[in-house]
């Protein structure tokens, strides 16, 4: 990650334009669930499909922000953020499973169906507490955060950087995938969790639930964006950029680089976990496939396509690549992986600053 990338310092007019565009984009998104309520004949009607897929993309955009914070600013190229996202998803999935209660196929009052099927007598200890929503949300952040803290501490302290760190994070997500495939882990094996019934007292799979989850995701995106902006525009943000571009020089200025990298990596992992927690109730399923190494790589490509090192770019990349994916997987499903690879190569070669580079002026 030695290449320097631009952190554009837009003038006040540029900044104002960006703000207006962002507020406009948020309003457009916010109005989708409202338009969904219009009668189907109306030209302005928006289908259930659009609302639910956009809600999903919003959680992807949060994941992209998390990756960008670590990669675009601090130069930590994690190829394991899909795992943090999936862990957050599993935490929420556990909560949703507990809420099914006796409505499962086997009708057991506490045990989820797969546990009854596997002959469990009682809930494993690590399932305790997940019946409480706040606890599940806390775990959706804490589990990825603690994992990132341990991995980051070991790697950053030993000054493992660049491609070696990327490989370690890939190995992490792969190992977790294999672990979660196992039935005896107590997470439903390769079927994972599904058939959710309700969340916070509201039945899922209704217009109402879709809208609530959509707005919750949008709120998370806005809050995460503002928080990341606050960080990247602070002196901490400049320290991170300095670490990205000349890590050892930062040490000679007296900064404990390990601590700064750990801070941003843990925060990024927790944010990815939260995004996963909002993703799962919207798609209605979580299984070990979410840990597949390809997912993490794909998410990094969103950021590269949008423009790493700019928060707007990360969000833009998540939306545009996923829109392309949705379109392409309906017209030519076999082509998607080739298109994704081609896109990555093309962006690397021709648009090193990503899509955002098309709009923002190159720095003088």
């Amino acid at each position: 990650m030695s290449a320097t990338i631009a952190t554009p310092a837009p003038g006040t007019t540029g900044r104002l334009t960006i703000r207006l565009v962002l507020i406009g984009a948020i309003l457009v998104l916010a109005v989708l669930p409202v338009l969904n309520q219009l009668p189907a004949e109306s030209t302005l009607h928006v289908s259930d499909f659009i609302v639910s897929i956009t809600g999903k993309w919003i959680t992807y955009a949060v994941l992209a922000l998390a990756i960008d914070l670590a990669w675009g600013y601090a130069g930590i190229l994690s190829l394991g953020h899909g795992a943090f996202f999936a862990l957050g998803g599993y935490a929420m999935g556990m909560h949703l499973m507990r809420l099914i209660g006796p409505r499962g196929v086997y009708g057991h009052p506490t045990l989820p169906d797969f546990m009854v099927f596997l002959g469990y007598q009682e809930l494993p200890w690590y399932w305790l507490g997940f019946e409480h929503f706040p606890y599940a949300v806390l775990m959706a952040m804490a589990v990825p955060g603690v994992l990132a803290a341990i991995l980051g501490f070991l790697a950053f302290r030993s000054r493992i950087t660049g491609v070696y760190l990327s490989i370690i994070t890939q190995a992490m997500t792969y190992a977790l995938m294999l672990a979660f495939f196992r039935n005896d882990m107590g997470f439903g094996g390769n079927n994972g969790f599904t058939d959710f019934k309700e969340l916070l007292g509201m039945p899922l799979n209704t217009d109402n639930a879709r809208a609530v989850l959509f707005y919750a995701s949008l709120a998370l995106l806005v809050v995460a964006f503002l928080a990341c902006t606050r960080i990247t525009q602070s002196k901490l943000g400049r320290v991170l950029v300095a670490i990205r571009d000349a890590e050892s020089r930062v040490r000679f200025l007296g900064y404990d680089v390990t601590r700064h990298k750990l801070f941003v990596f843990v925060l990024s992992a927790a944010l990815a976990g939260l995004a996963g927690a909002l993703y799962v109730p919207q798609v209605g399923i979580i299984n070990p496939g979410e840990f597949s190494p390809g997912n993490s790589i794909e998410a990094v490509i969103w950021v590269a396509v949008g423009g790493r090192g700019t928060l707007v770019g990360a969000v833009l990349g998540a939306f545009s690549v996923n829109a392309l994916k949705t379109w392409l997987t309906t017209v030519a499903p076999d082509l998607w992986l080739f298109a994704l690879g081609g896109l990555f190569v093309a962006v690397t070669l021709f648009l090193p600053r990503g899509l955002i580079g098309l709009f923002a002026k190159a720095p003088k």
């Binding site: 310092a9 002196k235 990205r244 801070f263």
Partner: protein, 259 residues
């Protein structure tokens, strides 16, 4: 470290005690002795020039002092601290600042931001997040920008500075750190004669309040510093004294000046 800035003067408890003390230091890379039983003492407020042919071990000596390289043998002390046991950040925070031979500034940041990062202030992530630029800090940065002659470039990104300007910026970053000991590796490479003179004057001015160790090839520049000179060769000290003394030392003439 928790306080903002300490006044540059009157820090040394005992001004007669050496600030930097190297004794019997050796560094071996794959059987090659980059430093060989090197000893060096730098006093409080002293300005010291170090010269020596390419590969003499000058940069390696700075690496050892700043924690980048661990010596194979020997004692390296800064005041009461054993530097061989500390990491780079800790050593920097003890009050040792370093300018690298290849100027290293942060390209994506502006001149002002580079100096702001170097400014002595709490270094932890939370402190950096909460950091607000005070009026006093701004004035200090602006004064330094002026001192290094980059006022017109203050809000330009470091990437577009010339080589000499990058050298200046890095010297400015050293000043912001407010160190007790400055290690300056080849500061005038890429500078015009006038800039070189200006640098010599600046370093002389800084010394006295702090100790400064300057590595340089340019003998005119070393003469302008008017300081004690140490000649390194093949990892050991060859000669030490005034510039006239070392220039007339036959061993020095043989290995270095007479080439």
């Amino acid at each position: 470290m928790s306080d903002g800035y300490s006044p540059p003067l009157g820090r040394s408890k005992d001004s007669s005690a050496p600030v930097l003390y190297l004794d019997g230091v050796s560094v071996v890379f794959d059987g090659f002795r980059a430093l060989n039983n090197l000893s060096l003492v730098v006093d409080a407020g002293e300005l010291r020039a170090i010269i020596g042919p390419n590969g003499a071990g000058k940069t390696t000596m700075m690496d050892v002092i700043t924690g980048k390289t661990r010596p194979t043998a020997g004692v390296v002390r800064f005041r009461d601290h054993d530097l061989t046991r500390l990491d780079e950040a800790t050593i920097a925070n003890l009050g040792i600042g370093r300018k690298f031979q290849k100027p290293t500034v942060f390209d994506a940041l502006t001149v002002f931001e580079n100096l702001e990062l170097a400014l002595k202030a709490p270094r932890g992530p939370f402190a950096c997040l909460a950091w607000l630029l005070s009026g006093e800090a701004r004035r200090r940065i602006e004064a330094t920008v002026e001192e290094i002659g980059l006022t017109a470039r203050m809000h330009d990104r470091a990437a577009i500075l010339s080589h000499g300007q990058r050298q200046w910026l890095e010297i400015g970053m050293l000043l912001m750190q407010d160190p007790e000991l400055l290690l300056v590796d080849e500061p005038v490479a890429g500078m015009t004669d006038q800039e070189t003179e200006h640098t010599a004057a600046l370093l002389v001015r800084i010394a006295g309040q702090r100790s400064v160790v300057v590595v340089e090839h340019d003998l005119e520049f070393v003469r302008a510093l008017g300081s004690k000179v140490t000649v390194l060769c093949e990892g050991s000290m060859l000669s030490e004294g005034s510039i006239d003394h070392v220039q007339n030392d036959p061993r020095v003439i043989e290995v270095y000046l007479g080439r």
